[in-house]
């Protein structure tokens, strides 16, 4: 096997020294972090704490306003991403940035193809030969000629790592690599990260999942509001202590609040819904004031069920009713009008209008009902209406006119909650309501969901996080391969019981 991965001692130390950075507001304040060879160094902190910004500065995406970047004792001056890669520093971004229409092998060497003798030609033979070795190293068994765009997301991540190795990088940063991955896919990535660490590479890592953080980290640095508030070595800090440092206050994580549950009439009723290939005959019902969970693996058909119910996909059989009204073939516009709303799973693609102001984002689902006369919208009144709802959702923002992309993930999500509450729903489907939301803001979103249910909203929560379902739900359906395979109520809902059902084991 051809192996270009460096092994053994003599690794690279990369140091952030007193880094300052501001984007109109300060994001990083005099941050010192040292990335040691043979270690996985994890940055934790709430969204907006400055973790991603730090890694972007270290990999040349942003220039720091102050401070120094020191690679093996040498201070790096001006740094572009290409220069950083040449010096062996690679950032694996949150969403892989591969060229979907080029082959795996071409992607591997993109911008860094091995040169021929005079540096004028591409040494294709060497590129080909090393490719399979590298893919093997990262545990990716695919045909190098396959188009990168056809790889599942998890494999694209691995390909990103292989690319870093192909370019001889010795410092690899991972910016929340696991957020789009299933647990199993993430395990593959972790195995690779451990392997790279044991080979003496220098790894930096950002994650919101505590299991991962505790499992992987040799060293943890906690950031809050752009400053370092804690430094820990493996096994020297407990989870509650870590969380307290992150949010600056104590927080109970999986507290199940016993809600007064006297569910009302059936609001949403789904009967034997079929939408091949993912939805193969599912029946569920949700009552007023009830929080019902939908557990299942990624790809089990949870999201597809929701999209079919909401009219984004057409069912081939079955029936959907809201308050007794048939909405089986209704599109999203009619579903919304009949009181059914859907908070989409993929916030960036299907949720936010990134460059659009908060108010317009909040009212996008009720354009037909906005205040106005003779067909002209009263934009002042609209902004006030949106503002009241954003305040109610506890959105932290400066003005209504700022683009939603300028908010943290948690606040973006709250704006989307405002969007759907403005539609006066009778039943809401929340798909991964806390994805990409930091721990502090998660609790706020749980509060919103519970408040809405308390006001009589029939609520369906789809989540990959079992703790979330245990925390919120009165009842949980388990979905496996497009069918409902079980149902749990009340105290029977535990992480173990739900997990077992969701993997089709029970």
């Amino acid at each position: 096997m051809m192996l270009t991965v460096p092994t053994g001692k003599g690794g690279t130390t990369y140091e952030a020294h007193s880094i300052d950075k501001a984007f109109s507001v300060p994001v990083l304040r005099r941050v010192d972090v040292v990335f040691h060879p043979g270690e996985i160094h994890t940055l934790v902190g709430e969204n907006g704490a400055g973790k991603s910004t730090l890694l972007k500065i270290m990999s040349g995406v942003y220039a720091p306003d102050g401070g120094r970047r020191i690679l093996d004792g040498e201070e790096l001056g001006h740094l572009t991403p290409a220069e950083a890669r040449r010096r062996g520093i690679y950032l694996v971004p949150q969403e892989p940035r591969l060229m979907p229409d080029l082959s795996v092998a071409e992607n591997l060497y993109l911008g860094a193809l091995p040169r021929g003798r005079f540096g004028l030609t591409v040494d294709w033979r060497r590129a080909r030969d090393t490719t399979s070795g590298l893919l093997e190293t990262v545990g990716l068994s695919v045909d190098p000629r396959m188009l990168a765009g056809r790889l599942p997301l998890a494999h694209q991540q691995l390909l990103e790592c292989a690319r870093a190795l192909a370019q001889g990088c010795r410092v690899i940063f991972f910016d929340e690599p696991t957020s789009p991955l299933t647990a199993h896919e993430a395990d593959t990535l972790f195995a690779l990260m451990r392997d790279l660490r044991d080979r003496g590479l220098t790894l930096g890592f950002i994650s919101h999942r505590f299991d991962e953080v505790e499992d992987l980290s040799d060293r943890i640095t906690v950031l809050r509001d752009g400053s370092v508030v804690g430094r820990h070595e493996r096994g020297t800090v407990s989870r509650p202590a870590l969380i307290e440092e992150m949010v600056g206050r104590a927080l109970t994580l999986t507290r199940r609040t016993q809600r007064d549950t006297s569910p009302g009439e059936v609001v949403l009723s789904v009967e034997e819904l079929v939408s091949p290939p993912e939805v193969n005959g599912m029946s569920i019902d949700v009552r007023a004031g009830e929080i019902v969970g939908l557990a299942g693996l990624v790809g089990s058909g949870r999201t597809e069920l929701a999209e079919t119910v909401f009219g984004l996909r057409q069912p081939t059989a079955g029936r959907v009713t809201v308050m007794g009204r048939d909405v089986t073939t209704a599109g999203p516009d009619r579903c919304i009008a009949d009181g059914l709303v859907y908070l989409a799973e993929d916030r960036g693609r299907n949720g936010i209008f990134a460059d659009v102001d908060l108010g317009t984002n909040a009212t996008s689902a009720v354009i037909g009902r906005l205040p106005g006369r003779v067909g002209l919208l009263d934009t002042q009144e609209e902004a006030r209406m949106a503002q009241r709802m954003l305040v109610r959702m506890n959105v932290k923002a400066a003005t209504m006119t700022q683009p939603i992309a300028s908010l943290s993930g948690g606040n973006q999500q709250k704006v989307l909650f405002a969007r759907w509450v403005l539609a006066h729903p009778r039943v809401a489907i929340f798909d991964e309501p806390t994805r990409g939301v930091d721990v502090g803001a998660k609790e706020g979103i749980y509060q919103i969901i519970e408040d809405l249910a308390g006001e009589g909203l029939a609520t369906l929560v789809i989540s990959s996080e079992l703790e979330e379902l245990v925390r919120l739900c009165d009842r949980v359906y388990a979905v496996y391969e497009g069918r409902i395979v079980g149902q749990l109520r009340g105290d029977a809902i535990t992480v173990d019981s739900v997990g077992e059902l969701a993997v089709g084991a029970a």
């Binding site: 599109g331 579903c335 209008f353 990134a354």
Partner: protein
């Protein structure tokens, strides 16, 4: 408790201010260097008459481009409209001729919209095809003797004035005002802008993307029809080639006016300023004795300089703009599904 300010009423948009300043400079320059430029009280306004049909066309295109689409057939529709109105004038009343021309134009726009929205074919390709169809229809309808020498009542639309103001300019003003209200203050406009920003998120918000898209292309067809009528009145002839030449200058106006070619961002008011800027520039250069070749070249240069300045401004205020442009490119060229709204 959270406090979120409503935000001041929009300040003068930076890009609009730059365009406005350029316009003032331009008018100043020409009035100093070229004594004939103002040519009396109403002279300055009539300077731009030749450019008005382009400006009208740009209004429809602005709507289409705001949704992230393009309408290459707009110029050909204007040609067809000018031939249709000409042939109808030979046999019927002025009003009747205008109505027929507008109906024909609107129907072509509707067909554009239906194909783009329901078959999911890129608007670039669809309107490229309908452009050929519309322009060949115009040529065959015009025949060997294009319709000309119209009733003087009709000709006022092209060259007449009301209280010193050219009628064509008034038509442009009305079209621009309606389009500006449509984009800024109507439900239809809100939907089309959101579609331009993120069509998927629009669909998930319950916006009927297909229906709005059809509407936008239909309106673009109608506006192209209006441009064609003004053209026919200006030339006193229904020329089958007259509209095509307007297409690229009109797209230039939209882009120069700051409308993002990928959709979503842009203000109609700034497109209007860009129309005036380009219109006076073209006429001013011609009056100063430059050839139309030189004029075209200056237009190209102006466009490049303007875009460079604009991107420089955006990058400075938001370094992530380059990344977001890359994202939008990716989204733009991602495989498309038909946007058909079911239900």
């Amino acid at each position: 408790m959270t406090a979120i300010s409503l935000g001041q009423r929009r300040r003068l948009p930076a890009w609009g201010a730059i365009l406005g300043a350029l316009l003032v400079l331009e008018l100043g320059y020409f009035s100093v260097t070229n004594r004939n430029f103002f040519g009396g009280g109403t002279g300055m306004l009539t300077q731009i008459e030749l450019f008005i049909p382009t400006g009208i066309l740009a209004m429809g295109l602005a709507l289409v481009i705001l949704t992230g689409n393009i309408d290459l057939s707009a110029g050909a529709i204007a040609s067809l409209s000018s031939v249709v109105v000409g042939t109808q004038l030979e046999s019927g009343t002025v009003i009747g001729a205008i109505v027929v021309a507008l109906v024909v134009s609107t129907v072509i726009g509707l067909v554009n919209g239906l194909i783009v929205a329901h078959l999911g074919i890129d608007s670039l390709l669809v309107t490229l095809a309908t452009q050929f169809i519309a322009s060949s229809l115009a040529v065959s309808l015009a025949g060997d003797n294009p319709p000309q020498d119209f009733a003087s009542l009709f000709l006022t639309l092209g060259r007449g004035t009301v209280a010193g103001v050219p009628v064509a300019l008034l038509i442009f003003a009305v079209v621009a005002a309606v389009v500006a209200l449509l984009v800024g203050r109507s439900r239809f406009g809100r939907r089309l802008v959101l579609i331009g920003h993120n069509a998927e998120a629009a669909r998930y918000s319950g916006i009927r993307v297909a229906r709005t898209t059809v509407g936008v292309f239909t309106v673009s067809g109608l506006i192209a029809g209006i441009a064609g009528i003004v053209l026919a009145a200006y030339f006193n002839a229904g020329r089958s080639d007259s509209g095509m030449a307007l297409l690229l200058p009109a797209i230039t106006c939209v882009v120069l006016g700051g409308v993002d070619i990928f959709g979503g961002k842009g203000r109609v008011g700034e497109v209007v300023v860009a129309v005036l800027l380009l219109g006076f520039l073209t006429q001013g250069l011609l009056n100063s004795g430059f050839s139309s070749l030189a004029t075209t070249m200056v237009t190209g240069l102006l466009l490049i300089v303007a875009l460079v300045v604009k991107i420089a401004f955006e990058v400075r205020s938001d370094p992530s703009v380059l990344a977001s442009t890359a994202d939008r490119l990716r989204r733009r060229f991602a495989p498309r599904r038909p946007a058909a709204d079911h239900g």
